[in-house]
């Protein structure tokens, strides 16, 4: 069964039509590359899935049940996590504190409650091992490489055992070596039967990690096909409009 099914989603902001009649299905353990030029509606679509705002028209179902997200925490409670483009990390805190930010583990005695650093370090360490990332839970994020920072942001999504992880341009501003690290992190998520939506401008990244590529142009879905059945040239043509649909 599909984890997430969007049917005929449209979104307009006043007179501006951002999305028109977009349908999309996500399955467990599938990586979908979401591509399109600036203003094609990628962010709008992702923000609808993440609960930042509701669609104007259309319905969303998760595992066959209709869902309505009014705020990001609604989406999160249903198992939709998002990794922001800027990663939303606090440089002055440790990796473990960032992973657990807003969901700190507490322990206590009677009415006294305090932060359980020991368990947080341990749990964060387990998550980094699971992601095969050499990131030490006690290190400050300030001293970390781009790939390690991505691992921290992704480990944060793993805390709640999500069904869908949305990633906004995770490879936009990091070195080649770190891109490889991030792509392997995405494969780790897929191995855990999580559906990943990867928004990216970088054709090679999408083609190396995605199972399926979806192309948006001016708010409409113009392609949705397995990566094996398309090519970077065709996708470029679809993005720019040189090829109408595929």
């Amino acid at each position: 069964m599909a984890i997430l099914e969007l049917s005929s989603i449209s979104k307009h902001f006043g007179a501006i039509q951002a999305l028109t009649n977009v349908s999309l299905t996500l399955h467990a353990g599938e990586v979908v590359g979401l591509m399109g030029d600036n203003g094609a509606g990628k962010s709008t679509l992702v923000k609808i899935i993440a609960g930042n705002y509701p669609p104007s028209v259309g319905t969303m179902t998760m595992l066959g049940r209709a869902v309505h997200f009014h705020k990001p925490s609604d989406a999160r409670s249903q198992g939709v996590e998002i990794v922001y483009q800027d990663l939303a990390l606090c440089d002055n805190l440790s990796a473990a504190e960032n992973v657990f930010l807003g969901r700190e583990l507490m322990r206590g005695f009677g009415p006294l409650r305090w932060i359980d650093y020991r368990t947080m370090f341990q749990r964060a360490g387990e998550l980094f091992i699971e992601l095969k990332s050499e990131t030490r839970p006690r290190d400050l994020v300030r001293r970390m490489s781009g790939g390690q920072r991505q691992a921290v942001a992704i480990a944060r999504t793993r805390l709640s055992d999500p069904k869908i992880v949305l990633m906004d341009e995770p490879t936009a501003a990091i070195s080649v070596r770190q891109v490889a690290e991030v792509l392997s992190l995405i494969r780790r998520l897929r191995d855990h039967q999580i559906a990943v939506v990867l928004i990216s401008h970088r054709m090679p990244d999408v083609f190396s990690v995605a199972d399926r590529v979806v192309v948006l142009r001016r708010g409409e879905k113009v392609a949705d096909k397995p990566v094996a059945q398309t090519s970077p040239e065709e996708v470029t043509g679809l993005i720019t409009g040189a090829i109408a649909t595929a």
């Binding site: 990001p72 925490s73 922001y84 800027d86 990663l87 939303a88 990390l89 606090c90 440089d91 002055n92 805190l93 504190e97 960032n98 930010l101 807003g102 969901r103 700190e104 507490m106 409650r113 305090w114 932060i115 360490g125 980094f128 091992i129 095969k132 050499e134 990131t135 030490r136 839970p137 006690r138 290190d139 944060r156």
Partner: protein, 347 residues
């Protein structure tokens, strides 16, 4: 499949490895350590240079004088850690002092007057916090306005009179701020610890624990580190901001009550310009004005250093006009030093 096992094991090792840093190298990386060294050095130097400095009476005075600034500097550090600033602490101090002075002057019990004074301080803090967090006015502007408003309210309250009679509970108030606890130690003369210093030490302990071990404390640092990250991860940023300005105002209110008790009188000039000394103490103690960094202990040591400088100038017969030059230089040196250190760490 077989190959994966050793890879995982080495990875586990790498992740589990603690950062092997000698405690000494950790210590010298702390600004608080260097400021403590400076304070200690000044202390030793003064003991040698002046017969009066290391006397019980002088140390008693120094300890009491710096406690007022240090109490507020703990609150200020919490605000600075979130990336904010509170310029209204001196005015809150006089407002709180005036509330307790005027209410006790009319014969009210100290048990009612203290909560009223602290309540007035908390109300000012809440007002600051709501304007900053919910309306989005910059902290500098809000608290600059409050600096003016709170002092003016203290003037309205007292009709700008000096208050020196505090009704039936006057002895209790004077003992609260001016009293001391006699600590008997073996082999040496009993040590007198001024009450404000005891309040300071208790507050220091509570704040240090709260900064490190509570959600409230960690959220202060998260907000100062990356406010947007705090928002998207579900930290109640707005409520946090209101609470931190209330905490800072509460510290100022407490210092106000103690200072009135010590002086035995209150005028509307009390605490004028104090906000700058308090901010200086926080910054010398390692608080970073761009947010995310600071410790309660650092703030206290920063305040102690300022008071030792002030005291030493008096004792050494140097004109007190030089005081500003010394304190100002320390602010700049402390921040420069921090800059150099972090540049060294990055390379």
């Amino acid at each position: 499949m077989n190959k994966a096992v050793p890879v995982d094991a080495s990875l586990e090792q790498a992740i589990g490895r603690q950062v092997h840093r000698h405690w000494l190298s950790w210590l010298v990386g702390q600004q608080t350590f260097w400021v403590s060294m400076a304070a200690l050095l000044a202390f030793v130097g003064l003991t040698l240079a002046s017969d009066v400095f290391a006397t019980q009476q002088n140390l008693f005075n120094v300890a009491r004088n710096f406690a007022f600034v240090a109490i507020i500097a703990i609150g200020m550090t919490a605000v600075i850690v979130t990336g904010g600033i509170d310029l209204s602490v001196g005015a809150v101090l006089v407002l709180s002092g005036m509330v307790i002075g005027m209410t006790m002057n009319t014969g009210m019990s100290i048990w009612l007057a203290v909560p009223l004074a602290l309540g007035a301080a908390l109300a000012v803090g809440a007002f600051n916090g709501v304007l900053i967090a919910y309306v989005g006015v910059p902290p500098f502007v809000v608290t600059l306005g409050m600096l003016s408003i709170a002092r003016s309210l203290a003037m309205v309250l007292s009709n700008n009179r000096m208050v020196y009679s505090f009704g039936p509970d006057q002895p209790a108030l004077l003992a609260l701020g001016g009293g001391f606890v006699q600590l008997s130690l073996p082999f040496v003369d009993p040590v007198r610890i001024p009450n404000p210093l005891i309040f300071l030490l208790v507050l220091l302990l509570i704040a240090s624990l709260a900064f490190r071990w509570t959600r409230w404390g960690r959220y202060l640092f998260a907000i100062g580190g990356n406010e947007r990250a705090a928002v998207v991860t579900g930290v109640p940023v707005k409520a946090m901001k209101v609470s931190v300005y209330m905490f800072c105002a509460l510290c100022a209110g407490l210092a106000g009550i103690l200072e009135v008790g010590w002086l035995g009188t209150i005028t509307t000039g009390l605490g004028q310009g104090m906000e700058l000394t308090v901010i200086a103490a926080s910054v010398i103690g390692g608080a970073n004005l761009s947010g995310g960094i600071g410790t309660a202990l650092g703030a206290v040591i920063g305040a102690a250093l300022i008071e030792v400088i002030r005291n030493s100038l008096t004792l050494l017969g140097i004109s007190t006009f030089w005081q500003g030059t010394f304190v100002g230089s320390f602010i700049v040196i402390a921040v420069l030093f921090d800059r150099l250190r972090s540049r060294g760490a990055n390379e």
